[in-house]
């Protein structure tokens, strides 16, 4: 594999709560190459956001705790940096956009101030230069009339426009990696497409890598080069996007793809929902976490958790079974 921009190894994160310890991320490894896009999919509470927030070191500690792992970013282990060093990285080489643009912009500061701040912190621009740069950024992300909108407050913008403002903020220092935590989930479908296209265009223009988190397989198919599937804090499958959609090798991925409505087959059956719900992450089962809901589970699945292993060329999955043949590996 080519040199990696971000290399996360065996990341484990837990949260101490009153109901017990939540094992949010359990030994997850993934990597991103420069200029490429990794999509992370999974249902709510499977540890997608916690994984990337750990990379950003934005997990509230306590109650959260990063138990182990390495996060190599651009030649440095982010987990061993001091808080001050980490502040230098955040927003500069590594930036992030969030799920809900309604709440992730400060309601009492003008957007010009919010966009300008990153550049004042990291590039040492003065007020006037930051303002000029913010106008250019707003123009780049497709906000009409940027010099007039600069002094507006977030509540003067619609959801899609605010997400564009967030993107402008995130891109202000030309980061090497942009982490997008479900940036389109809170938007309606037509706006989703616009935001996706915008990020794709900017990614190619600025040659940055992207981690795109979503629970929407269609969105991931649209933007990602590689896909990682997470389930209850484990990475269960990882492959090239075409390979994964053509030939999923984990029963969970298979079930996810089956639960999507299809237009091409002409069948009007009910959607195939996955029975049951994800396990309680305070009490993970001894075996494979998906075993209780898996249609092809064998006794071994309930006792031993399968490791993530290379099951096909450049395709990793964590399953004791070969879903194609139905036999054990």
């Amino acid at each position: 594999m080519a040199d990696r921009l971000l290399d996360v190894r065996d990341l484990r994160v837990e949260f101490k709560t009153l109901e017990g310890t939540v094992h949010a991320v359990n030994g997850v490894s993934f990597s991103v190459e420069p200029g490429r896009t990794l999509g992370i999919v999974g249902e709510s509470g499977c540890g997608k956001s916690v994984s990337v927030l750990s990379v950003m070191r934005l997990i509230p500690q306590p109650p959260g705790r990063i138990l182990s792992g390495q996060v190599q970013f651009d030649g440095r282990d982010l987990l061993s940096l001091s808080p001050a060093e980490m502040q230098q990285v955040r927003g500069k080489d590594l930036s992030m956009i969030f799920q809900d643009p309604m709440t992730s912009l400060n309601p009492v500061l003008t957007i010009g101030r919010q966009i300008g701040e990153t550049m004042r912190v990291h590039k040492g621009l003065d007020e006037k230069q930051a303002r000029q740069a913010a106008i250019e950024l707003l123009d780049q992300v497709g906000i009409p009339n940027p010099s007039m909108r600069l002094d507006d407050y977030p509540h003067h913008f619609s959801g899609g426009m605010r997400q564009r403002v967030m993107i402008a903020m995130a891109l202000s220092c030309s980061p090497k990696l942009l982490i997008a935590d479900e940036p389109t989930t809170a938007l309606d479908v037509t706006i989703q497409v616009q935001i996706l296209d915008l990020v794709k265009e900017l990614r190619d223009r600025l040659d940055m890598a992207v981690i795109w988190i979503s629970h929407d397989l269609a969105v991931i198919a649209e933007i990602a080069d590689r896909v990682a599937v997470m389930y209850s804090g484990y990475l269960v499958e990882e492959a090239d996007v075409f390979e994964l959609y053509r030939q999923p090798l984990h029963p969970y991925t298979l079930a996810l793809l089956h639960s999507l409505p299809r237009l091409d087959t002409g069948e009007l059956d009910k959607l195939a929902a996955i029975p049951g719900s994800p396990p309680d992450t305070t009490r993970l089962p001894a075996g494979c976490p998906f075993a209780p809901r898996c249609t092809c589970a064998i006794p071994r699945c309930r006792n031993e958790n399968p490791p993530l292993a290379e099951v096909a060329p450049d395709h990793r999955a964590a399953c004791w079974l070969d879903v194609l043949s139905g036999g054990a590996r």
Binding site: Q88, S104, V108, E117, V121, H122, Y153, M166
Partner: protein
Amino acid sequence: MASIAISPDELVDRKPLTPGQVAWKRFLRHRMAIVGIWILVGLVLYVTAGALFFSEADANYVDLRQKMTGPTSVHPFGTDMAGRDILARTVYGGQISIIIGILAVLVSVTVGVLIGAVAGYFGGLTDSILMRFTEAMFNIPQLFLLIVLAKFFAGDTPTFTFLGRAYSGSVVIVVGVIGLTSWMYLARIVRSSFLSLKEQEFVTAARATGAPDLSIIFEHILPSAMAPIIVTATLEVANAILSEAYISFLGMGVQPPTATWGNMLNEAYNQLEAAPWMWFFPGTLILLIVLAINFVGDGLRDALDPQSLAGRQE
């Protein structure tokens, strides 16, 4: 039928209101607050314009032949024990009382905001230590603390000159003492605002841009916490003026000859029946200013608090 077409230019010109403008409009609709504002304007005019008619020397001019005369045409508010003109003294005393009120609140806001913000933002051990200290301060009755501190610092207070006027050094001490005994309530309010605001996603987003802690505290969180701070600070001005009156009344505040409304009451204390004009005028002025500030504070609360329904009579 009239045309309702709007040209694009007009649309651009019609800027939406800023949060400040919205609050101002709501404030203007609060009738009592407007009454309060007018009373305050009147009182400020009284103490500033009054100084054009009387010099400070007039206010401190002792004329024992005229002592304790009731209101006359020469002394409309009467004279005190030393024959000083009460009208002139309420003018200069008012200046001191208002200045003490405002400066003391500046001290208490600075201390309260710093302690509350640091405690709320960093949490954990820092929070515990600062809040236990705040509670300890709370548990000592404020009046008692005021008297002890005033007594403690009262020993040596040189007179100082500022902007061409001589002030008793006790003014600074009273400001400090009142400021340092009244920040606790504000610290708690600021801390609780910070506790909830720091969990907001926009704070995480700000941290994701690499903003340092100080910038997050003062630039990102504090503006959202301003509304309760402004309201509390306004009401605190009234309290500070009252506190000054208490300790000056007890003879431990600002020392004569510098007049304040509080120490004028102290002098009147023994002549309640013999010379009612001696307490009536300064007393009424204290009553008016405290009332007016409270009206304004109420109006500000309704205007600034988005949850309050009182200001929302559309």
